[in-house]
Symmetry: C2
Subunit: 253 residues, 2 copies
């Protein structure tokens, strides 16, 4: 059974300030926790229904001898959960900071997101990066936190394979001026007739309502647009990122 | 001020059964309502802050003489709203049933969605259709209702330009066997080396968790896959639909 202190800790992790204070985040659900265990990502605490624990007893004993295992009834999981439809397992994990390998920046496509606030969209973008083999996602400091429970949920486990950095994007672009930046804009060149990069590049996507921060535009080498044939004013940010990423990684093998 | 009866009516429209009973749906927010007024879509009732009504007084008088205009304070809009962040205007509109023009089916790309349950995803897909000039979206009866307030919101007004049909997809495919069906599957041909259709076609997308209903697979002429280079098991349904639609409409002018 979860103690009052444990309950307080888990519930505090819904808020960024406390995630940073404790250096912890929560991840819920059979699918995501199974991926965590499979990849060997560190787990501090595991709250789960007894039947879930039984099923995973062997792997927990072998790979997670130091994890606190807390069997809880369904009602307690509902109380702890950050989701609308609660799950049968909830993991509390240490936040691991990403490490930058400059070589990857120079040889592969990276994503850069400017002020993406919607948790579902950031999660979907990390999943896109994972699908297309994009190892790095750079977020401006105003983006929603990747360790927000709704973002973790929307990544469907892809946060385990994609490194997400938070930093002023100006600094990134100024530091690596030789890496070409493709910027998603409304009045740029036709994406589909723009040659995809053959080496490292960054795809910069702005927020749905405000686009790319004008202060970043001087760093954009290739302003590109998904050609429009109908009446919509814009696409959902994750949908646009998916289309751009699919096209810009086409040349990659 | 909204009467008790009016309040009851608006709030009932959050539920499909009552939308069908009354033949009405609700649409909220400055942007979407402005698009409704611009396109001349019928409006039965308009609940709005006095300052909003002042701004739109001319257009309402000219184009909407028969609409019931109900000035309401902010607190009432919050009560009526189906959104988390309420708006300054809410329109109650008659549901207009789509009309099928066979010629369009034979000359343009249509989308068909199998059991798409997430309102945000259906809204994003209708926005994708609108962006790429796809006039028709066919939904299996198990899909979320397009007039669900969350779907209407996520379309950002694109529901005004895209016709959305609900019907068993088997019937559609059986009735138009000469229209080729591209099906999004995990083990199909590489999308990017599949020639896009040069005439009418249907893109069939399944649900994220269950894919395309096996009963529909015999109707799929071209099983296609977005090539994967990383570790994600799947893409968000709207993201996948965006990538597929962008590619399959490429040949269109």
């Amino acid at each position: 059974m979860a103690s009052k202190q444990q309950q307080k800790l888990v519930q505090s992790l819904k808020i960024k300030k406390y995630r940073q204070l404790h250096g912890l985040f929560m991840a819920e659900g059979e699918k995501i926790v199974a991926e965590i265990l499979k990849t060997g990502y560190a787990v501090k605490q595991l709250y789960a229904l007894p039947q879930w624990l039984e099923q995973y007893a062997d792997i927990l004993k072998k790979k997670y001898p130091d994890t606190e295992i807390i069997p809880v009834p369904d009602a307690m999981l509902r109380k702890l959960s950050a989701q609308e439809t609660p799950n049968n397992v909830l993991a509390v994990c240490p936040i691991q900071l990403p490490k930058l390998n400059e070589n990857i920046l120079h040889t592969q496509l990276s994503l850069a997101l400017c002020n993406l606030k919607d948790p579902g969209n950031l999660g979907a973008v990390i999943r896109i990066a994972d699908w297309f083999g994009v190892p790095y996602v750079f977020c401006s400091p105003q983006c929603v936190d990747v360790f927000n429970p709704k973002v973790i949920q929307a990544t469907m486990g892809s946060f385990l394979r994609v490194q997400v950095f938070y930093q002023p994007l100006q600094n990134l672009f100024a530091q690596y001026p030789q890496v070409p930046v493709y910027g998603a804009v409304l009045q740029g060149s036709n994406l589909f007739t723009t040659p995809p990069p053959t080496s490292g590049a960054v795809l910069l996507v702005g927020s749905e309502s405000h686009g790319i921060d004008p202060a970043l535009m001087p760093y954009v080498h290739h302003p590109v647009t998904i050609p429009r044939r109908g009446g919509a004013e814009s696409l959902n940010a994750a949908v646009a990122t998916g289309i751009l990423t699919s096209y810009l990684t086409m040349a990659a093998k």
